[in-house]
């Protein structure tokens, strides 16, 4: 069934006001338009409009060779750019039958988790900006800058590095890499208590977040939510545990969950995830040899044998899957991305209706959508 595509005024009903939120609203994290009906302070109807940032990723990728496509996957979720490359690469590696050296897997995992921290820091800063707190924004972006500098030193770019490749990574890490990452982790651990004091432990924030935008476990599963959103509703679903990839089977970490399903729970889960990421990176740093192979043997012309493969990874926002169909040529027949923000955004009508108008912003920032990936 198709849902309503817009909100029409009901004849004779004068107490309902219909307003547009976005697409240029600063709190919509990009270009989202939500048509909202409000009755006093309560939201009665909400219809999201997406597609403003559509760039035709999947069709373009059909016309590109496999190594070229990696560059495009970066541009989906640009806040955690590097993480997007992995599902496509894993799928093609499976089709090619390429062995990835253990060291390359560990390097990939370290970068993967660094970008999770970077992405959650952006979310924390901008999310609190939406709620009216400016200080966390200034602090989180300063911490994220350190991750971007580490990435630039090794991979050559800050946000869209195009660094992973079939069989491993493109070039070996910078000689300072291990030192830099360890330094960042030490530094970040001294910063986390400040974020707790400024955000999570603050009664002012709790008054805005506790009991707001409650998502039930059943509804989260029915809507296909993933990532921190579903874990805050009490479902311990994490692709890193469910279908482990790269070096995750060797590393120990927990999947933080919380049963409440409100805005506070979603903030809490992301905070705990940052702590888990720090733990994962520390373990991976210890295991990674300083030198060694960083790329497996890959044929110079990437031509997977005919077949199809679906691989998923847990990016900062949830379950990102890529389905690759190969017909044995240099270009894939079809590439399909299943993106987490798109599924999480479908919760807007569920969560908005009945909430107060000011809480809509808090709910939206707790879903943490990135529109490059919603619209692709």
């Amino acid at each position: 069934m198709r849902g309503p595509t817009t909100v029409e005024p009901v004849p004779g009903r004068t107490d309902e006001l219909i307003i547009n939120m976005g697409p240029q609203h600063p709190a919509t994290h990009g270009v989202l338009k939500v048509v909202i009906g409000v009755e006093g302070e309560r939201i009665t109807r909400a219809v999201p409009h997406i597609g403003f940032l559509h760039r035709n990723h999947e069709k373009i990728e059909e016309a590109r060779t496999y190594p070229q496509i990696i560059t495009y996957t970066d541009r989906m979720d640009y806040v955690s750019g590097l993480q997007n490359e992995l599902p496509f690469i894993l799928a093609v590696e499976d089709l090619l039958g390429v062995e990835v050296p253990p060291r390359a897997k560990l390097i990939r995992t370290i970068f993967f988790e660094l970008f999770r921290i970077a992405s959650h820091l952006v979310w924390l800063g901008t999310g609190m900006l939406d709620l009216g707190a400016i200080t966390p924004f200034l602090y989180t972006f300063r911490d994220r800058e350190m991750i971007l500098e580490i990435t630039e030193k090794t991979a050559g770019a800050r946000m869209l590095p195009n660094y992973f490749t079939f069989g491993g990574v493109r070039r070996d890490v910078h000689p300072d890499f291990f030192k830099d990452v360890a330094h960042f982790l030490d530094f970040f651990e001294t910063r986390l208590p400040d974020y707790y004091a400024l955000v999570l432990d603050s009664p002012v924030f709790q008054a805005r977040a506790v009991g707001v935008g409650v998502l039930s476990r059943e509804r989260a599963i029915a809507r296909g939510a993933s990532g921190p959103v579903i874990r805050a509703s009490g479902v311990a679903y994490d692709v890193r545990k469910a279908e482990p990839y790269d070096a995750y089977p060797e590393l120990e970490f927990e999947v933080p969950t919380r049963p409440e399903g409100d805005v506070f729970a979603r903030f809490w889960v992301r905070f705990k995830e940052m702590e888990e990421s720090v733990k994962i990176i520390r373990q991976a740093l210890e295991k990674t040899p300083k030198t060694g192979p960083y790329k497996g043997k890959v044929p110079p012309r990437v031509k997977p044998k005919p077949g199809a493969r679906y691989r998923a990874v847990e990016i900062s926002r949830g379950h990102l899957g890529t389905y690759v169909v190969s017909d044995g040529s240099e270009r894939p027949l079809r590439v399909k991305h299943r993106s987490p923000s798109f599924a999480n955004l479908q919760l807007i009508p569920d969560l908005f209706v009945g909430a107060r108008f000011a809480d809509a912003i808090a709910i939206l920032s707790s879903l943490d959508p990135v529109f490059g990936e919603v619209d692709r």
């Binding site: 496509i69 070039r171 000689p175 192979p293």
Partner: protein
Amino acid sequence: MSLFAEVWEAVKAVGAGLGAVNKRISEPAVTEFYPYKKPEIPPVSVQFLALIQNEDGTDRCVACLQCERVCPSQVITIERKRNPEGKGFVLERFDLDFANCMHCANCVEACPVSAIVTVGAFEHAVYDINLLKADKAMLDHIGHEAKTWYSPKFGVEIRTPDGRIEKAPPEMQPGGLAELLAEGEGGEAS
């Protein structure tokens, strides 16, 4: 909770927040004073691309079309002709549209002779988008201006003041070069 208790809680929260801010007040500033003090960017950083010519002024490029083939946004256009003296090809035209370039460095990685490289210059904003459509003369010029550049095959190279091209000392090199020089594995175009 009574109103007074709630107000007291809020005051305490603001106090705790100010405490967290206070801890950082004496930290050194991290602001970059950009136009006055230029940041140093790592050599592998993909900013501007350039064509490098040998010390005697001949092209390093052997017109193998690898870079044209791997470019995802297809902004490189090469025309070549057979070399009149000897074998191989020579360039007739080498255009690169920086306006549509994704700065992915696929071309730099694919080049077998390190002719197309990344250079450290990063200020290339212009008012007219057509100025970003570079031809061979412009790419050669950027290469001549560059003091250091990077390519995965040869690592960081520097141009000495008297015009010679030399390999940079090991402390300027990014990671992975030792293995590259030892074996050449992992350096092939992906």
